[in-house]
């Protein structure tokens, strides 16, 4: 069983995802990176592109990132603001 972490993906006025996730692949400004459970405390700007995430139940989601954003990871939880 893979470990999960709490992931919140939000846009102004709407919540895209909020729950436990297995992994998230994000287009960072320095290149694509992947967040898994237990990732180090980390803040990164996001570039335009596409993010993919896998929820705890194995379901996958795709979100377009039209104008960049910011990702913050700390203490087994991640917040992604588009």
């Amino acid at each position: 069983m893979m470990k999960t972490f709490h992931l919140t993906v939000a846009r102004v006025g709407e919540n895209l995802f909020d729950g436990e996730a297995l992994s998230a692949s994000l287009p960072g400004s320095e290149g694509v990176f992947e967040v898994l459970a237990g990732h180090e405390a980390f803040v990164s700007l996001l570039a335009e592109g596409e993010m993919r995430l896998r929820a705890a139940d194995g379901e996958t989601f795709h979100f377009e990132i039209p104008a960049g954003g910011i990702a913050e990871v700390s203490g087994n939880q991640a917040t992604i603001l588009l």
Binding site: T8, G13, S29, E30, A41, S44, E72, S74, T79
Partner: protein, 302 residues
Amino acid sequence: MALKDIKTKIQATERTHKVTRAMEAVSAVKMRKTQGVALAGRPYARAALQVLARLSGSADLARHPLTAVRDIRHVALVILTSDKGLAGALNSGVIAAAAEAALPYATDAVTVYAYGRKGEEYFARRGYRVARAFENKKDAVEISVMEELSTELGRAFAGGTYDEVLVAYSNFKSTFEQVPTIRRLLPLTLPGITRLIEDIVPEKGKWSDLRAIESVPAYSIEPDGGEVLATLAPRLTAISLYHLLLEAKASEHSARMVAMKNASDKSKEVAHDLTRLFNKIRQAAITREVSEIVGGREALAI
């Protein structure tokens, strides 16, 4: 009062009742919509503020131009009111709070940015410089409008034109409770951000658990702290401002609905009392006429 006058007055009151009831219904729909938007926006605003609060441990924050704390000589005052009245004490409360905030400074040291006509009229009449005035007509406000305003404010703040940017608005607590509030938009400071986060935690429901803001010392930051803050700080200013506007909107429609409900109830009561009075006077006239007839008849019978 003559019978005819009372009748006219009853009809007028009933017409008023119809109007206020219609306005109450309209406000109720708008209230639900704006409350929904305001509540939906809270998690985002909170999350964004928390990221900044966590980052504030780093030295980069102190160096960012939007966080510079200076001696206050020039103030920009953003006032979020409605365009229309009939909303109870909502606008007067916000305006009174704004006027109090402006009190310590000379009139020419305060620049007003008015969103909504009520605030603009008040401060323009008192000789304040109104730099920008927006109409507050539409309920669906694009964040781009607030981004534009916050960019302007941010540039002026960073350039030293203003030493502080304050926002006067009405904080939405519930349908029956809105609190006129002054908030400091710039400079961005940790206590200010923390207070804003605390205020936008709903009383119950899924977002009500407040995760403590612990500053994580060992963040690795990409590309680097300065650049992250350069993106985050202006964005956050815009989001805060937008969020305050959503709260103000929800407050406006809630206050108006309650005010219109009170007006409807009162007009019903007045119509009821007037009908009573009408019947009483009519009955008195009938009784008088009957007794006159009876008296005349008795006088003739002798």
